[in-house]
């Protein structure tokens, strides 16, 4: 079957629709990069109307099926996920179809494989962008299919009525989207949402990177990154707009002059991790580390007490995971995954809590100083707070000194020095949080106070009913050992610069996106039978329990009723059965027939007007000359593509009526 020649724009619509369908799969980040590259290349060629496989259909089809055999083998060997391999196969089939000559069958195949790709995208990704790709695909495919139907029906050389057709189809598309939403909301969920995948996605690559070390030098680009790395729900919610809290992740104890590291410690694995004794004022947190977080190191409000209920959210499934407590270093998930969900209890507002066994910790590692430390650094440490003897007092004075005399800056020209600490303290006198933390920790150690650098996050921005952390909130600070109290938190970084400083516009965009994504996750991806029940219950309560709805006064109620009645009336008027519009030519015919009926010249109902005219002529009827031009004009207007001009019918009928009057007058006198 050969399709009539399609306009180029119509094929581009088709190809673009296929591209968006593939995009719905590609955003999952699970397709092999080679496939993404092959499809992108094929799509570009198709959009440029280069059907390079037009003369190699058999060969390319064989290649696609050979690739399918390879994919089956990879699945059987356990090297490739079944859904991913199926998606790859459909993508290869689509790109092959895109690059062969366009026929009716090929066009249909491209659309149908594109539908399959969107289904594949649904299976692979739960990203908000999927909705965008799905909607775009549906729109483009709808218009492309419509154009195909019009092309099929059009005569050669006929102009396609794209504008009125697309206007109508656009309305239909809007209706379909609303219908899809209604179906989604009301169709009962008979199974659990077990197959929804949580892919990292193309735009959620890891950012925070608890890589194990903190290396001084370099600029702090992370501090401007607006991406979200964690969502936190506090139970009970404190109701604050900003938490301004420390979220410790990893403690580093060894400094070699350029880099902070941590020495190996004992580790414990447990499903529920009790770090220290609790109390009555524990704060529960439900934490979700997003794919942009990018590390198995877990965070919790300072000071964490218990970690429990961890789930590793992997692309294909979600599994429970245990915690690994690397003593005095970090708590991390036992299973590696792009993101995690877990809960924690913390003791907030109390800077320190002694852990069981902390008294036996070897503190010498927290007093270690880098070899070859410049003497002027030691001199500086001794010169500050010379009178202070207590660790807490020394720590306070040193923190105050650094905070007051050093400037926060992310722009550090020449920061790649071999000895960054003296460079910060004596030359630049400006740096970011890692410089401040390093300086404070080293000065404390020089003064004999055990200390360590802690990396994590500082902040907590309100979003919906919870809080979020951005990549820009990544922070480094110091914990110093105070006998009898344990490690206390110290931060020499000026307060204004502790949390992230992303670009305001970018931050707003990310916030808006995150807010929509949060709703998307809650109302689409995780929508369940329980939500449907809640919705039903809420609707029922809405009728019976006016507390859920704003109480309306009588006047407001009257306005609402009036509005409702007006809307119903408007709808009825818009949907009223329209009077059949009679074309002007038909009106002319009716006028002629009416005139002839007055003189009894209309013989039979079924007789055509031409036959009546012929009869008038044959019988020499006096009205024949007057009727003849009107009949002629009627035939031209109706069948001869010469429509009547404005007012022409009235003029013609006027001449006939005049002739009729002349005809009737003598008869009356006779």
């Amino acid at each position: 079957m050969t399709a009539p020649p399609s306009p180029v724009w119509r094929l581009r619509l088709r190809d673009a629709a296929a591209g968006t369908a593939f995009g719905s799969m590609a955003i999952s980040g699970q397709l092999p990069l080679a496939i993404v590259a092959v499809f992108a290349l094929g799509l570009v060629l198709a959009l440029m109307q280069r059907r390079v496989l037009a003369h190699r259909v058999g060969l390319s089809t064989a290649a696609v099926f050979a690739a399918s055999l390879v994919l089956i083998l990879l699945v059987l060997m356990g090297r490739l996920d079944l859904v991913v391999s199926a998606s790859v196969f459909v993508a290869l089939l689509t790109v092959q179809r895109l690059l062969v000559a366009s026929t009716l069958a090929v066009n249909q195949q491209v659309h149908l494989t594109s539908v399959l790709m969107t289904a594949g995208g649904a299976a692979l990704s739960a990203d908000l962008l999927y909705a965008l790709f799905l909607l775009t695909f549906a729109g483009l495919a709808t218009f492309s299919l419509t154009a195909g139907v019009l092309v099929q029906a059009a005569a050669p050389g006929e102009t396609l009525p794209t504008r009125p057709a697309f206007r109508r189809v656009g309305m239909g598309f809007a209706f379909a989207v609303l219908g899809a939403m209604a179906f989604f909301v009301f169709f009962p969920r008979l199974s659990l949402g077990i197959a929804a995948r949580r892919s990292a996605g193309l735009f959620n690559t890891a950012t925070s990177g608890f890589t194990g070390n903190v290396r001084l030098g370099g600029s702090g680009t992370l501090k401007t990154d607006p991406r979200l790395v964690a969502r936190i729900k506090l139970v009970p919610d404190r109701g604050l707009t900003s938490l301004e809290a420390y979220w410790p992740g990893r403690a580093l104890d060894t400094f070699d002059g350029r880099e902070w590291k941590t020495l190996g410690n004992d580790s414990v694995t447990a499903e529920r991790l009790q770090l220290r004794g609790g109390g009555d004022t524990l704060q529960r947190q439900e934490i979700e580390l997003l794919p942009a977080y990018g590390s198995p190191t877990l965070i919790a409000l300072d000071t964490p007490v218990v970690f429990f209920d961890a789930i590793a959210l992997q692309p294909t499934r979600s599994t429970r995971t245990a915690f690994i407590d690397v003593r005095n270093v970090e708590v991390r998930a036992a299973r590696s995954a792009p993101s995690y969900q877990y809960q924690a209890y913390s003791k907030p507002d109390v800077p320190t809590l002694l852990r069981a066994g902390d008294e036996e910790v070897d503190l010498s590692r927290y007093l270690q100083l880098p070899e070859g430390l410049e003497a002027r650094v030691s001199t500086l440490a001794q010169e500050i707070a010379t009178d202070a003897t207590e660790p807490r007092e020394i720590a306070s004075e040193l923190t105050k000194y650094l905070k007051g005399r050093y400037r926060y800056s992310l722009e550090l020209p020449g920061a790649t020095t071999t000895d960054p600490l003296p460079d910060f303290l004596f030359r630049r006198k400006a740096g970011h949080c890692e410089d401040f933390a390093t300086a404070l920790a080293v000065l404390l150690r020089i003064r004999g106070v055990p200390s360590r650098v802690v990396t994590g996050f500082f902040g907590g921005e309100r979003m919906g009913d919870g809080y979020v952390l951005r990549a820009a909130d990544a922070h480094a600070w110091v914990q110093a050992w105070v006998p009898g109290e344990g490690f206390i938190t110290l931060d020499a970084t000026p307060e204004a610069f502790r949390s992230g400083r992303p670009q305001p516009l970018l931050a707003w965009v990310v916030r808006a996106y995150a807010s929509i994504e949060s709703s998307w996750q809650a109302w689409v991806v995780d929508y369940s039978f329980r939500d449907q029940m809640k919705l039903t219950r809420a609707a029922a309560q809405g009728v019976s329990a006016p507390t859920r709805w704003p109480k309306l006064s009588r006047r407001a109620l009257a306005v609402v009723w009036a509005l409702g009645v007006t809307l119903i009336a408007l709808g009825a008027w818009l949907l009223r059965p329209r009077q059949r519009a009679v074309p002007e030519a038909i009106r002319l015919l009716l006028d002629i027939e009416r005139a002839l009926a007055q003189v009894g010249a209309r013989r039979r109902e079924t007789e055509g007007i031409e036959e009546t005219l012929e009869w008038l002529r044959r019988t020499g009827h006096p009205l024949a000359p007057a009727v003849s031009p009107l009949v002629q004009r009627y035939l031209e207007a109706r069948f001869g593509a010469r429509p009547l001009r404005t007012g022409e019918r009235r003029h013609l009928v006027g001449t006939l009526e005049a002739a009729l009057r002349v005809f009737l007058t003598p008869r009356a006198s006779a």
């Binding site: 249909q108 659309h111 149908l112 539908v115 399959l116 969107t118 289904a119 995208g121 649904a122 299976a123 990704s125 999927y130 909705a131 799905l134 549906a138 709808t142 299919l145 419509t146 195909g148 139907v149 019009l150 099929q152 029906a153 059009a154 005569a155 006929e158 396609l160 009525p161 009125p164 057709a165 109508r168 189809v169 239909g172 598309f173 209706f175 379909a176 989207v177 219908g179 899809a180 939403m181 209604a182 179906f183 989604f184 169709f187 969920r189 008979l190 199974s191 659990l192 949402g193 077990i194 197959a195 929804a196 689409v524 991806v525 995780d526 929508y527 059949r580 519009a581 074309p583 055509g608």
Partner: protein, 317 residues
């Protein structure tokens, strides 16, 4: 000759027609595949509980419904009139015209043709603006002589997506009389030459008058008294004399009694061919059938009358 669907009268009938429109729905090839895909996605959604698959399924189902509504709006306000040709021959294409008229709404991708008829006619247009009418000409080939009953006209649209073909069928009873098939080598048919009837037709005078115009081969049924025997003997074939003022020649064919079915068709075809040949030669040709008589006359109009009479031969016109 026209036939059009009768408009509904009364709001009750219109209301009933609105809710029970006489529609036919066929699924196209791509529509079938689309339905299978919808089923597959539905099973996938139910089986896995993946909400995004529910979303895709919802969109697919809603698209089907939207497609149905848009196609219904295309055909709901259409009316159609069939215009038949004056005559046609079996085995030859005949032009049928359909006048499509829209009311308040435009129609897209409309195909029009006969329903429940052996006549395969199919015409289409991509667009009919609101409150307009368009004539669509189609060609169809009737395959046998006689009355061809056209009962209904089917108007179909695949708008908007080409997944389904929705049809509306209009009652438009009409009869197209099909004249005998044109045959090249028809066997000569017996006809009478001994009488003429009708006003203004004078009896022929054998031999004619005036100077000799030409000699030509005598045709079957011509008066043998016109043969020029000397020249015929010299040429070895029968030649007849034609003079400047030749007399009108006439022939009247009469349908033999007892002919039915294929034999009657064959006689009609041969008679039509013979009569047309004679008319071209200037003969006055008439026809007598059990259904009636066509008085002998000449010319194009007589040919049409004879063909019409031959079309009805054996049938109740």
């Amino acid at each position: 000759m026209r036939s059009s669907a009768k408009p509904l009268r009364g709001w009750r009938r219109r209301w009933a027609a609105f809710w029970r429109p006489p529609r036919e729905l066929k699924v196209t090839t791509s529509g079938r595949t689309y339905l299978v895909l919808t089923l597959v996605v539905g099973i996938g959604a139910l089986n896995t509980g993946n909400n995004l698959l529910y979303l895709v399924l919802g969109l697919q189902l809603a698209t089907i419904i939207a497609s149905g509504i848009l196609s219904e709006r295309c055909v709901r306000n259409l009316s159609v009139t069939r215009v038949l040709p004056d005559g046609c021959r079996a085995g030859e294409p005949v032009a049928l015209r359909y006048i499509l008229q829209t009311e308040g709404e435009p129609a897209f991708a409309v195909e029009v043709g006969e329903a429940d008829s052996p006549l395969r006619s199919r015409g289409q247009t991509s667009f009919l603006p609101p409150r307009t009418e368009r004539s669509i000409r189609t060609l169809a080939t009737p395959d046998r002589r006689g009355p061809l009953t056209l009962t209904r006209i089917r108007v179909t649209t695949t708008f908007p997506l080409g997944l389904f073909a929705k049809s509306r069928v209009f009652d438009a009873p009409q009869t197209l009389w099909v004249a005998p098939r044109r045959v090249k080598a028809a066997a000569p048919t017996q006809f009478r030459t001994n009488r003429l009837q009708g006003e203004g037709i004078k009896a022929p005078r054998p031999g004619g008058s005036g100077d000799l115009l030409q000699l030509r081969e005598i045709a079957f049924g011509e008066d043998v008294r016109r043969v020029h025997w000397l020249k015929s003997a010299a040429r070895g074939e029968l030649l007849r004399v034609e003079r400047e003022r030749d007399e009108p020649r006439y022939a009247e064919f009469e349908q033999p009694s007892g002919l039915t079915g294929a034999a009657l068709d064959t006689w009609c075809e041969a008679t039509a061919a013979h009569a047309e040949r004679l008319l071209k030669q200037g003969w006055l040709v008439g026809l007598a059938t059990p259904q009636g008589r066509v008085e002998a006359a000449s010319g194009e109009g007589q040919s049409a009358k004879l063909l019409r009479a031959l079309a009805t031969a054996g049938f109740d016109a």
